[in-house]
């Protein structure tokens, strides 16, 4: 399951996408909207994507994790407004053993932040700002 969605992410659905009776470890990572950035109160986030590039790039990351760790990977990123405390991205990874699960999960979120064309705007009580991820 690789997708961009406009409303709330069905976290349990992303988890189920990596069901496999041969897996002993499953990790679900949620990137969640925080209520502050460098001391400034954030009231919501807004995400925007280039879908025709973002979805294939997420698929490539999942395929890379599959090739490298034998992991099944599901990635769903949200677009539009995201409330504080709600996930903007959910990544589920399943593997036979846990060491590979942690490595593959970390790889997927790190690569997503570097490579997938998605942008984030922080909304404050009195304004807003586009926020880039720190470089790799």
């Amino acid at each position: 399951m690789i997708a961009l969605v406009d409303g709330r992410i069905d976290v349990a659905g992303v988890r189920r996408a990596v069901d496999d009776s041969g897996f002993g470890a499953v990790l679900v990572f949620e990137g969640v909207g925080r209520d502050s950035f460098e001391g400034r109160a954030v009231v919501a986030l807004e995400y925007e994507a280039y879908p025709e590039m973002a979805v294939p790039e997420m698929q490539r990351i999942a395929d890379e994790a599959q090739a490298r760790w034998g992991a099944k990977v599901a990635i769903v990123h949200r677009t539009g407004r995201v409330a504080i405390g709600e996930p903007s991205v959910v990544i589920a990874v399943g593997t036979p053993h846990r060491a590979a699960c942690y490595e593959a999960s970390r790889y997927a979120i790190d690569e997503l932040k570097l490579r997938v064309p998605v942008w984030k705007k922080e909304i404050y009580a009195d304004g807003s700002a586009w926020k880039a991820n720190a470089p790799g």
């Binding site: 925007e48 994507a49 280039y50 025709e52 590039m53 997503l112 932040k113 984030k120 880039a132 991820n133």
Partner: protein, 78 residues
């Protein structure tokens, strides 16, 4: 010749549209089109990755008729 240009995030806000069809000179490169659309301001230019037909491409790439072109500002996904 015609080219389809997509804008995202702060570039979309500055341009005021998410996409448009433009008429450009044959041989125009990605970097030249970006520079002409977004003149440097007091803070310089937003650094971008150039894309042509949904693939990241060097700024020196000439645009072909009918291409879909975009300029990706620094990413913020996750």
């Amino acid at each position: 010749m015609k080219v389809r240009v997509l804008y995202f995030a702060n570039l979309r806000e500055r341009r005021g549209v998410a996409e448009e069809e433009l008429e450009i000179e044959p041989g125009t490169t990605l970097a030249a089109l970006y520079a002409s659309l977004f003149p440097a301001g007091p803070d310089g230019r937003i650094p971008v990755a150039y894309t042509r037909n949904r693939a990241v491409s060097p700024g020196s790439t000439p645009i072909e008729p009918g291409d879909e072109v975009s300029f990706l500002p620094p990413l913020g996904g996750g």
